[in-house]
Structure formats: C-alpha cells, structure tokens
C-alpha cells in the first residue's frame, strides 16, 4: 500500500544534504512554516534557497540565513531591512534576482522537463547583461534555464496517502509547481483525508509529484 505520510518532522526532513537546492513555496499564504523549522533543526548547510521573497528579518527563512546555512538565494523581492540584504552587504550571501513570472516559469519548466525557454521578460534590462538574448517573432527574448531542486517544501490544505493535494484559496501560489520541480518533495498538510475524498478533477497537486507528507494540524506549529 502506498502511504506517503511520515510520523514526525524529523523523518519528513531526513536526508537533506549539505549543498542542496531547496524550493520554498508560499506567498503570504501557503508557506510551509513547520517544514522550514524542520530544515533549521535538520542542520543541512551551504543551501541554495529558491523563494519568492527574502524580505524579512524574522521567520524561518531569515533564521536559516542568519545561521549561516545558506550560500545563495534566488528570489524576486528583497528589502534593505532584511537579513538577506545584510548578509549580501557583508559578502556572505549571493542573491540572484529573478522576475516573479520568470521564477514561476523556470520552476514549472524544471518540473515539466523543459530545459530552457525564451521570454521577453527582463530581456532589455540589466538582468540580461552578459546573457543570451535573441529576437523571436519580433520580440527581444532572454534565455532562461529551468530550475530543478533537490528538495521542495510545500504546504497543503488536504492530503491523501497517495500525496494528492489541495491548497486553500491563494495558499496555492507556488505550491503545485514547486512540488513538480523537487526531486524530493516534502509536504505539510493541515488536513488528512481518505483516498478518494478529493474528486479526481479537483486535485490541485497530483501525488505523482509528492514524496512525503507530514500532518500539521492548523495552529499546531510542531
């Protein structure tokens, strides 16, 4: 019987190696906060984080950064008053700025087996300096490579034992595409449902993309 549930946060986070690239889903809502605390406890170092925003001085992403566990962040948004900016100024962190749509598309491409694509986004900006551009269909386009990752940390509203997921409202955001792009996709879910509870046409992230699921009841942070 396929059963992707794991009984503890420790087991959920087992095996993440030093040097791993980690996708962190969420955009205001849908952040896998318990798994992030698990990553902090798990100890892997020299990480590359792919996350929409590194804008804060608080929360588990900032804590991972402050603990010196991260080599590089790929994101669309940083603030001056953030741990990421401070570490970058100190020469202790590399930040790669990626337009948010390009970030989403690169992650989807990684999950979908597309190696690279051409997009007009950012093609005539400083982000394109020194990189390959080409005019296609009359539009200047920039070559962007797919992002795949060793690990994806994903939040869900409901999960079944095959790893089929739903995400509530705008907590969907990066979760389905990051689940696709992680070689090891770890999910925290608010609710556990029996197989078949989620109608086939309403599955938002199919279990084929999911490796481990941890039940984190709402309000329970451990």
């Amino acid at each position: 019987m396929i059963d992707k549930f794991v009984p503890s946060l420790t087991e959920a986070m087992a095996g993440i190696a030093d040097g791993a690239t980690v996708l962190i889903a969420g955009f205001g809502a849908g952040i896998p906060d318990t798994l992030l605390r698990g990553l902090l406890a798990q100890g892997a170092r020299d990480l590359t984080l792919v996350v929409n925003a590194a804008a804060s001085e608080e929360g588990p992403v900032a804590e991972l950064l402050a603990a010196g566990r991260v080599r590089k962040v790929m994101c669309s948004f940083v603030r001056a008053a953030s741990t990421a900016s401070r570490l970058q100024r100190e020469g202790r962190l590399e930040i790669e700025m990626v337009p948010q749509g390009t970030l989403a598309e690169r992650i989807r491409a990684g999950g979908a087996g597309i190696q690279a694509f051409y997009t007009p986004t950012a093609a005539d900006t400083v982000l394109a300096e020194g990189r390959e551009t080409r005019v296609i269909g009359g539009k200047l386009c920039l070559l962007e490579h797919a992002i795949t990752a060793d690990v994806a940390l994903v939040d869900a509203w409901e999960a079944d034992r095959w790893g089929n997921l739903t995400h509530r409202a705008t907590a969907r955001n990066f979760n389905p595409i990051m689940a696709m792009a992680g070689r090891l996709t770890i999910v925290q879910t608010r609710h556990v449902v029996a197989l078949g509870t989620i109608p086939p046409q309403h599955v938002q992230t199919a279990g084929v993309f999911v490796d481990r699921v941890l039940h984190v009841p709402e309000g329970d942070a451990a």
Binding site: F77, V78, P99, I107, T121, D124
Partner: protein, 213 residues
Amino acid sequence: MIQGRDRLAIARRIAEDIPEGWFVNLGIGMPTAVSDYIPPEREVIFHAENGVIGIGPAPAPEEADPYLVNAGVQPITLLTGAALVHHADSFAIARGGHLDLCVLGAFQVDEAGDLANWAHGLTEPTRQIGGAMDLAVGAQRVWVAMEHCTKAGEPRLLPRCTYPLTARGVVQRVYTDLAVLEVTAAGFAVREMVPGLDFATLQSRTGATLQRG
C-alpha cells in the same frame, strides 16, 4: 498654490478610464486603490499575480481570511465568478497577453515609454522586481500611477530613465498628481491638467519636453 490630486484621487481618475469587461492587474501601492473606484455595475475583472482572477472589495478586518490575499499580501475577497490558479498559470495570464491593462507604480518613466520601478540603483539593497517585469512586457497596455515629482522635487518624467529599467517602451499613459500624459512617438503629450495648472508650470516640473494636448 495648485491643488494636485492626492493618491486616492489619482486612483479614482484612472478608474474613470477603465471600461467594462477589461481584465486588469493593479500593482502594489497606489494602483491597488483603483478597484475601489470602479462602480459596482461596471464589471471589470482584477487579477493578482498570486493566482486570483476576480478580486472583490477588501473585507472588514474581522472577516479577513489569512488564506486569501492579493499580491501585496493584503486580505481580499473574491467576486462571484472568480477563479483561482497557481503561480505559473497566473503569470501565463500576465505574460501571455491576456491582461487588457496593467497599472503600475513607478520611480521614473521616460518619453520612450521606458519604465523604472524596481530599484533606485544597482547596488541598492531594496530590489522589488516582483511581477513588474512580467506584467510590463506582457500586458496589452501599461499605465503608470505616480507622483509627478519626488519628495525632493526631482522630476520623474524624464527624457531617459536614470534608474535600472523594468521594461523598455511599454508605458502608454502616466497619471500623476498634476496631469494625465500619453506617451507618443513625439514624447509625452499632455492630455489633461489639474484645475489651475498651466502648461509652463507643468513643464517646469517635468524633465522631458512636453507636447501640448
């Protein structure tokens, strides 16, 4: 002393120009307020980068759902008829030409329609690209909402942007506290000035040479 439009008045002025049936993305900041000034009987569908099509009015604080936010991570409601998608599908809408309009804030706009709205310089630690580069090149129309000058009185409408660009040649209209301007082949054309403002004064507050009407 000229009474310029305040931020909400700029948003209200933009709302006047959005016809029924358009799909519109509103940037963070001043543009977000535009939707508040669309009369309920005029159906305009607002999109947010985080996967919302059909944003409704802001909820009362006690009714805010933490699972339902816009691209500025503010609580929202959904219109009847709304749809929710994931981030890649949401940007497929933005990048695929499916938005009739995107209203963005800006630091600078130049007479070629170049837009600068993500950083004051390359070494600046605040870099707010977000979805602006995607929206600016993907939407059918880009309108900018901004103050005509910086707080220090420096013009934001320039012959050429000095800040790093968001996208080149994309801005069609600029709505400021002082005027509504269109980007034309000949540069900025003044379509409207606030009452009491004369052309010479507007020109004195503008870095680029303005065209009359």
